[in-house]
Subunit: 476 residues, 2 copies
């Protein structure tokens, strides 16, 4: 074995053990050279080989970083196979039951929809709130109606520009979190009784939104790694004449799937060919573990049909309830719906975020947040591998903070949810993520909290409960 191969294998081993974590920077060529006494070319060759194996990636003028990828031996789940018929949605009762049960403060929050609030710069945000209130223009309190605070919209437009998307500040409507943005976009393009295409499994809040305004959902096959199946989507468009398509294109909840840029482009082109608006739910887009922010489907939008929705709730300021919609040709309708639904977003939250974004610490915070989430993912994956029953499959998303675990068929996720809750552990059972209550042997687990002995014990307990369910089934 050559010297550079040995070095590459050694580093790959550190990655597999979680010593080197996804998104983490590798030692520089110079550091390797000086401290290990190897030649620069040995280091370069080792790094090239690791890059070719997809284990690391280079970032211009920054160095080499551990790639976000699969180290776990547990296989990934297969593409979903949803029933192609449409369904009038009625998922809320189950969702409310699970959410209420999961909110008890003492529980291990694997079922939570949020990452740990300790990951966010609440001190700095608090100072931004205080500062912005100190030099507030009184008239702004009654004049900041939709589309929202001008400086905040300018800051958001600047971020779109960095992502290669042209969105004018006036086409951004500030909302009470992304959920309101998504609801308004949905209302802008549908009427009760219309059909909307969603992923399978799909985010339960999307299903609840459809339910609330009397829409039908068609769940479309979705791959846990690269997102919705475009062939199945084309078939569903032909069969159902949908009025909209609501997708999470990056780090889908609950799968964590990430559509590659070229697939996003094909998606936008397919929908544009049938004049179907795309509601792009992108609240996890900033939480990537790879080298750069995933492309937005909005980037490929030539017809103004993509309504891009996001927020600061998952990546900066939970509880501030500041989201937005960049709704393309539907921007004015969304703005008016915002006015008649809840008038405006809260002014202290808007001002504070405008101030915080203007200060320039956001990128550093995001880097820390991504690194923390990537590391926690590795910990939880390792624990699942150790404790869960044979036949388990699990995703390894390249961003976000959810794992999707497919258990052996004999495990009933709702029953597992009840038993786990009795042990002080919340989980999100699969049937929450389907209008048809499918995915009954699946659970979504949140790795957005600091890994500690309590979390480790909770995964072990979940594994034991799942194994017991398997054993009971094979004994019966």
């Amino acid at each position: 074995m050559k010297l550079y191969e040995a070095l590459a294998d050694e580093l790959a081993g550190l990655m597999a053990q979680g010593v080197l974590r996804p998104g983490e920077k590798l030692p520089s060529v110079r550091q390797q050279q000086e401290r290990r006494g190897v030649s620069p070319s040995t280091v370069f060759q080792a790094y090239y080989q690791l890059e070719a194996r997809g284990l690391i990636e280079s970032r211009p003028r920054s160095g080499y970083y551990v790639a976000a990828r699969r180290f776990a031996a547990t296989p990934e789940p297969e593409v979903s196979r949803p029933d192609p018929a449409s369904t009038l949605v009625d998922v809320s009762e189950l969702v409310f039951q699970v959410l209420e049960a999961s909110r008890a403060p003492g529980n291990v929050p694997f079922g939570s929809a949020f990452p740990s609030p300790l990951l966010f710069p609440l001190d700095k945000l608090g100072r931004a709130v205080a500062n912005s209130m100190r030099h507030i223009d009184p008239w702004s309190t009654v004049a900041d109606l939709p589309p929202g605070n001008a400086e905040l919209r300018r800051q958001i437009a600047l971020r779109y520009q960095l992502d290669g998307v042209q969105v004018a500040p006036d086409d951004i409507v500030i909302t009470n979190g992304a959920l309101e943005a998504l609801n308004l976009c949905l209302q802008a393009v549908t009427r009760p009784g219309d059909t909307v295409l969603v992923e399978s499994p799909s985010f339960y809040a999307a299903l609840q939104a459809l339910e609330r305004i009397g829409l039908k959902a068609v769940e479309v096959a979705t791959h846990p790694r690269d997102g919705i199946d475009l062939g199945a989507l084309a078939a569903a468009i032909g069969q159902h004449q949908p009025r909209a398509c609501w997708l999470m294109t990056s780090f889908q909840n609950p799968l964590g799937s990430l559509m590659p840029p070229e697939k996003k482009q094909a998606l936008v082109e397919l929908l544009a060919a049938h004049d179907v608006p795309l509601i792009e739910d992108d609240v996890y887009g900033e939480l990537y573990f790879g080298a750069q922010r995933p492309a937005l489907a909005k980037r490929f939008d030539g017809k103004g049909l993509v309504m891009h929705c996001s927020s600061f709730s998952k990546c900066l300021a939970p509880g501030f309830r500041v989201g937005w919609a960049a709704a393309g040709r539907f921007a004015r309708q969304v703005e008016r719906l915002k006015l008649t639904t809840s008038l405006a977003a809260a002014m202290p939250s808007q001002l504070a975020l405008a101030e915080y974004l203007g200060q320039g610490g956001y990128e550093r915070h995001l880097r820390q947040l991504r690194a923390a989430l990537a590391g926690q993912q590795q910990q939880m994956l390792a624990a699942i591998e150790q404790h869960f029953p044979p036949g388990t499959r699990v995703t390894q998303p390249q961003g976000g903070y959810f794992l999707w675990v497919v258990l052996p068929q004999s495990v009933d996720a709702l029953e597992l949810h009840r038993r786990a809750l009795a042990q002080g552990i919340s989980i999100a059972p699969g049937p929450m993520f389907s209008a048809k209550r499918a995915f009954r042997n699946c659970v979504r687990l949140n790795y957005g909290h600091a890994w500690d002995a309590r979390q480790a014990a909770a995964v072990a307990m979940l594994g034991a409960l799942a194994r017991a369910a398997c054993a009971a089934s094979s004994a019966a």
Copy 2:
């Protein structure tokens, strides 16, 4: 003339001139006695006579106050006579046109929906925001889901208790302003195609809310002084089988009408007899000029059918977007709708208001605000009396900050709106307040801004424009 009669007339004259303003405290009996050298019984007799004439009112252990009542010679408008048929609402286009035209910052804001932000304690609120963020519990940012921040709900429940209404903190749902609360209450009890009873004229945002979810409006005759006509309401219930009734029971927008307590009680009993939920929109209730807060219809609610909605936007903290619903038997439905519509209200706003209310300066602020509004009302009424054409009628509400002006039939309010805007004056033309575009010779004027030479000149200009319209009509 007896000495006490002379004293009474002198004081009545000061009230008519606006020197003594509605809600203002009269000099005490002792002050009159000491400084004017009259006997206590003379002062008492003068005050008793003024009280008997309805000009002043006594408050236990506090003294005598100028009553909120009519001094103007301009007569008040008559009860409305709406078309009894129901209407699918389509008022938004006009409302948006008017609102957008009115938002230009340089205009005299008679058409505005808000009082002047300079009337609010923004400094104190800013400090409350800063303080509350300093000792924030990070977990509250993800745990303060509906029904909302517990301390804020406790403070609101305490205020209900003072108003003689029993509402448990857990039955209060915090929303993004009253508008969201009203929307959620409406959605909790109606389905598209249902009929809802509203006042005539009615608040345009109520009409827009009905329009947005495909409901039919029946406008019911409403008296400018004491609110909706219960006979007409009973007839409308029989004819239309409404699923809800949405009323502003105190200081209705745009009329300013105030239902007396016994009429509110009769209203609640009438609706209860037909199992029709009442959505009580009470955002102006704190802005009374009389001795005490008007009763809430909610107070007479024996069946849990009254959904009381209010906010802090008009009386304390514009732009904070904190409102709430106390929705009686529908509280859980409203809570769930809140969760699926916009998840939660903004946490910085909720914490700041909980902190502010806990400090105890709210009542003093409200007293100052009420006195300012009452004085501004007198100024605007006097100016209207001086400048508007013969045949004009105008309300004199006992609270709030809107006047409803009925101009001679020959004046077209939409045309007046356009001409006024060309002069830098915004007004709210009558057709905004009717699904049938009625009230074409009416305007709503906002007296919520400090009275100054610019305001005086603007009323004079409006009067001149209205007179010109009358003259053009009689010449034609």
